[in-house]
């Protein structure tokens, strides 16, 4: 799988600086006239939506939860080390606590015994949060589809935003999936924002860790 680093073509249209009325309002802030029109100085005013800025911040610091289940966890760790440096995209600090994590990368086969603790981790993560299903085991059960103890896809337990196929996917594949997730965050697609009332949190899940 080739890594798509190009993205959409850059916007080459000329910069249009709006002709601001009431010049005196800006001069009194100590701002000077720009040679191409408009004003510049210490107080540059950027009219924008707060959500846009927040989304940029969110998309550029997607911190995954340090929770490897099995084989895919090794490739997930490989994507974080020197050769496939996922740190370039602001995704490196694998947080050990779900309170500090944004993305749950389900890396590896999810068994029925582990399902309770994993759902609990997912519910402990603060909103907004995203889920990446890494590998075929988490997508559909994969090579363990016929097993009696394997959850056949984590989307039976939690909403999944990005599926990364492969058994296990290459680290480049995971990085590609995380970049797709970044687009998804910026465009506000997928499972977010959905502030669904999930009702009271389950507390007595069998095999649960409190």
């Amino acid at each position: 799988m080739a890594l798509d680093t190009k993205g959409p073509p850059p916007d080459t249209s000329p910069i249009v600086i709006p002709d601001l009325a009431g010049d005196d309002d800006f001069r009194e802030f100590g701002m000077a006239e720009h040679p191409r029109g408009g004003f510049h100085g210490l107080l540059e005013v950027i009219p924008t939506r707060a959500d846009l800025v927040l989304d940029l911040i969110r998309a550029n610091s997607l911190w995954p939860l340090l929770s490897g289940l099995s084989c895919c966890a090794i490739e997930m760790m490989s994507s974080a080390t020197s050769k496939n440096d996922i740190d370039r995209f602001g995704m490196f600090p694998f947080r050990a606590s779900p309170r500090q994590a944004d993305v749950l990368i389900v890396a590896g086969t999810l068994t029925t015994k582990m399902a309770g603790p994993l759902v609990r981790l997912w519910e402990q993560m603060p909103e907004p949060k995203w889920c990446v299903a890494m590998g075929t085991c988490t997508t559909s059960g994969g090579r363990f589809k016929r097993s009696y103890s394997v959850v056949q896809g984590v989307d039976r337990l939690m909403p999944v935003d990005v599926y990364v196929p492969g058994c296990p996917p290459r680290p480049e594949g995971l990085i590609y999936g995380m970049l797709r997730l970044r687009e998804l965050v910026l465009q506000r697609r997928g499972e977010w924002p959905t502030y669904v009332d999930r009702g009271p949190q389950r507390s007595n899940w069998e095999g649960d860790v409190t």
Partner: protein
Amino acid sequence: MTSEVRIPDPLHPERTEEARLRAAAGLAPAPSTGGEYAGFESVGLPDRPPQTEREREVYTLDEGEMLVNIGPQHPSTHGVMRLVAKVRGEVVVDIDPVLGYLHRGIEKLCENATYTTVMTYVDPMDYLSSMHNEHAPAIAFEKLYGVKAPRRAEYIRALVVELNRVFSHGLMMGFQALDMGGLTPILYAFINRDEVVDLLASISGQRMLFNFFRVGGVNFDANDEFFSRLGTWRAGVLKTIEMNERILTDNEIFRGRTIGMGVLSGSEAMALGVTGPSLRASGVPFDVRKAHPYSIYSELEFEVITHTGGDVYARYLQRVAEIKQSIHLIDQIVDKMPHGPVQAQVPGIIRPKPGRAYAAVESPRGLYSVYAISDGGPNPYRFRMRDPSFVSLQAMPKLMPGRLIADTMAVMASFDPVMGGVDK
């Protein structure tokens, strides 16, 4: 079991003082008070009466003791391992590994698969040594079916298996440091690992779960490009290994935390069934490659490396020495590599005669063996794996009492367990 408590009890300083005074006066230790069965509330298991004596022992709390749950999600690098530690302050009193969080029913799946597709199911078992996982079933099925792999196939098998051992032991060096708080060695270990798995991917087509071995041979031949890349890798492999050695082996903090920690004597290790580098680090020269030679190991020159310490540091040194031994073996294998076919004439679906076969290989974690029973059909009637991580894990409750809770992960990492193999 009778390890001495090295630091004073922070919760009850008078207790150890009293014990010291009593011992000085020649009196027997004070009888234990308390001893009430605590139940599972604090570690989140369903409350039920203890099923075994061992369970009653772990979950019965004395005064000043409490249960601490570690896992299944935790920052150390052993997958979904879960430990329930009984602690008094910072001192571990007892430890109980709770298994089954990665139980995927591999044995049952193998019994419903044809002999060739068994290889795809045993791959993700011990996912850091997939080549070894396939080697033992391949040998066992060849015994069952009565076919021999060609000599070039045997040499390629030995080559990929030793390559796998190099990156598995290399990763153990990194994990050992990471579990003790050092981040740098894992970066070097993964540089080495990525080089080796790219090499193995160029011969098998997969990076991690190789699916390379077949009944009666291997899937692909090693071509000139592979040997060219192998030579490039061989020229630079010792660089990352020695970089890690320089960081760790003479590191004052690393030595201080590992020497004398988790000492397992040779007889104890044999009684527990611990095999592999952990056993040889205790001074027992048992190596399946030498004791029961399989494949082509009887034609290669190597000595069984042992260390005498039996502690975490010795187990670490044992791995480092075995990396260099494996590289030495790879040199010999490439020198002696014969020409010829790599796959015997075997149909896609084989039906061996009814019978039983056992095969054992030396995996990076110890003796990995399979036992297959055929009833004449296309599937194994019974297929059983003995995974060394599972057996090594039971040394933990023997080693940890009296040690600090921060050292639990250091001792754990020195056995290098892989949860995929433990839970199967």
